[in-house]
């Protein structure tokens, strides 16, 4: 009989709670929308990890791997976008004189 792993099941439940909390988070911080696709895929990966223990092991294991890779790509992309925005924001807030000096 297939058995769910306690730790993985816990992670899935906590992940789902985090996902449910995300709309409230986005409501307050619109800039966090870019993390949502990555988070959804990661949580999907956690769900598939539990389902693979029950049925269609190979299918869900493959789906788990794919969603975790995509989740990682999307989360990292979101962080790169955030970093880019932070750099641009910093550049804009630099005094004009400093910019002129830099050009010289």
């Amino acid at each position: 009989m297939p058995e769910l792993e306690f730790v993985e099941f816990n992670a899935m439940i906590i992940g789902i709670v985090a996902l449910l909390n995300f709309p409230f988070l986005i409501k307050r911080r619109k800039d966090f929308t870019k993390y949502l696709p990555g988070v959804i895929l990661m949580i999907l990966g956690f769900i598939f990890e539990n389902i693979e223990e029950i049925f269609f092991h190979h299918l869900f294991a493959t789906l788990e791997s794919i969603s975790i890779v995509l989740g990682a790509i999307l989360l990292t992309s979101a962080i790169i976008i955030e970093l880019n925005m932070a750099i641009l924001k910093n550049r804009d807030s630099q005094p004009i004189l400093k910019k002129i000096k830099g050009k010289k």
Binding site: L25, R28, T76
Partner: protein
Amino acid sequence: MIAQLTEIAIFEGTMTVIASVIFFIGFVTTHFLYLKNRTITTVMLILLMASGFLYTFTNIFDKFEVWQKADEFGDPFIVAFATILVVMGLVVILEEKLLTSEKNLRKQFSRVNFFRDLFSHDMSNVVQNIKSSLTLYYMKSKAPENLKETEELLEIINQQSLRGENLISNVRRISQMEDYESNLTSVEVFNVLNDTIKHIKKSFHKNINIQLDFLDNNIKIFANEFLTDLFENILINAIMHNTNPNVEIQIKTFTEKKNN
């Protein structure tokens, strides 16, 4: 070892390697982000990426069956990843609240500074004028031939006290303004402007001719009681700085298309 694995296991293992590398890139990027943006949210992102990397990294050993206990070792990181996600949600909300209150505090601080500067500069100026006029008045009032000059000094004192009074009333109005910001109601501009014009015409002893050229007399806007003050200020300035004996003012409305 890898040769004994099935194609699916190799595929999953490769995917895990890719995920691990990407999480590591994300982990490094968050460090750079932290250098630019030192917030608790960024720290949470670093932890999120670290747990993601550790989970996928240990998973590589599990997928390629290199280390039997890799799965057990990696499992806490998956829980950590999910927990950090939950905590990050709360931290972001708390941080947002903190930033809002800091913003409000800065706003209040600049307001206090503004009033302090206003009072220390303008009010001290008024008081100084009254004091010097009073000193001169006491000096000159002793001689009866200085009657005209003493009257002028009294007039200056009177004007300065009126200036001080106006200043205090303006400060009171400015301090009330923020409370009124949220109390905007629908107002017919034409009616308010007409009432102001009537009031202005009574206040000045000049021949004032104000023409209203409104496209629509029922234009409604969201405003508060300060709208009258706004119109009054503009009209008073237009009249006061007009040197002609007959003051002619034209008020026109026009439509402007913005953002299609």
